[in-house]
């Protein structure tokens, strides 16, 4: 059964190739999709899947399912340079979460005021493109809607 990967933020779906960062647009990290987030003030980014928050930065996180499927959510581009300014963590690293649980509070408008793109890539780590389907690459998407489905094949 394929894994539904939920939109961590609300906005509009975009192809990953449209992300203004070559590491994401060339899918060097993995395939996925991106969301151009809604500009409605403070927004809550949620977990895209059930699992463990294995990596947690103020501006990005990875949630890994018990079967080992890791999904990366990156809030804006080059936002590592903000060193956490404007991002509030709502969980701790290694927390167990279910899809839709709040992870980070942030404001896409603040990111843009700093001259950076607020686009959010959502990446299926170590996946190949053919494992993804039903990808929302256009049109509005609400937090918690299915962004794409991942036919994850656990190693071994």
């Amino acid at each position: 059964m394929s894994l539904p990967v939920l939109a961590p933020v609300a906005g509009r779906g975009l192809p990953l190739a449209r992300v203004p960062d070559p590491a994401f647009s060339a899918a060097l990290v993995g395939p996925g999709a991106a969301i151009d987030p809604a500009r409605d003030g403070l927004a809550t980014a949620v977990s895209p899947v059930d699992g463990t928050v294995v990596k947690l930065y103020p501006h990005a996180y990875v949630v890994r399912t018990p079967a080992g499927a890791g999904v990366l959510v990156h809030l804006g581009i080059d936002t590592v340079q903000l060193a956490g300014d404007g991002f509030e963590l709502l969980v701790s690293e290694n927390a167990t979460v279910v899809a839709g649980d709040p992870i980070v509070e942030w404001d896409p408008v603040l990111v843009e005021k700093g001259g950076r793109s607020s686009i959010c890539p959502v990446v299926a780590l170590d996946a190949v493109a053919s494992e993804l389907s039903s990808i929302t690459e256009a049109g509005p998407i609400a937090t918690g809607d299915v962004l794409f489905r991942w036919e994850h094949r656990p190693d071994g």
Binding site: P22, A23, A26, L28, V29, V54, K55, Y57, A60, Y61, V62, G70, L72, H74, V80, V123, L125, D126
Partner: protein
């Protein structure tokens, strides 16, 4: 050679690195001389890809970037 040692060597060695820091899936390095960066060597060390822009080199290594960056800092 460890991953960190291989990556450090392919970035031109400790003397070539001005700064290195991890983002969630990549190492962001500022180097003195970008011509000393060996992309094939970085890929052989397990990098998924390399993005170069002037003296800024990003090595896409996946979510273990923080561990690799601290291993590299230990070697420098």
């Amino acid at each position: 050679m460890s991953n960190a040692e291989q990556i450090l060597a392919a970035l031109g060695g400790a003397d070539n690195i001005v700064e290195i820091e991890p983002c969630i899936t990549r190492l962001r390095a500022e180097v003195d001389d970008p011509s000393l960066v060996n992309e094939a060597g970085l890929k052989a060390a397990g990098a998924h890809g390399v993005v170069k822009a002037g003296t800024a080199v990003q090595v896409v290594v996946g979510p273990e970037a923080d561990t690799i960056a601290s291993d590299i800092e230990d070697l420098m």
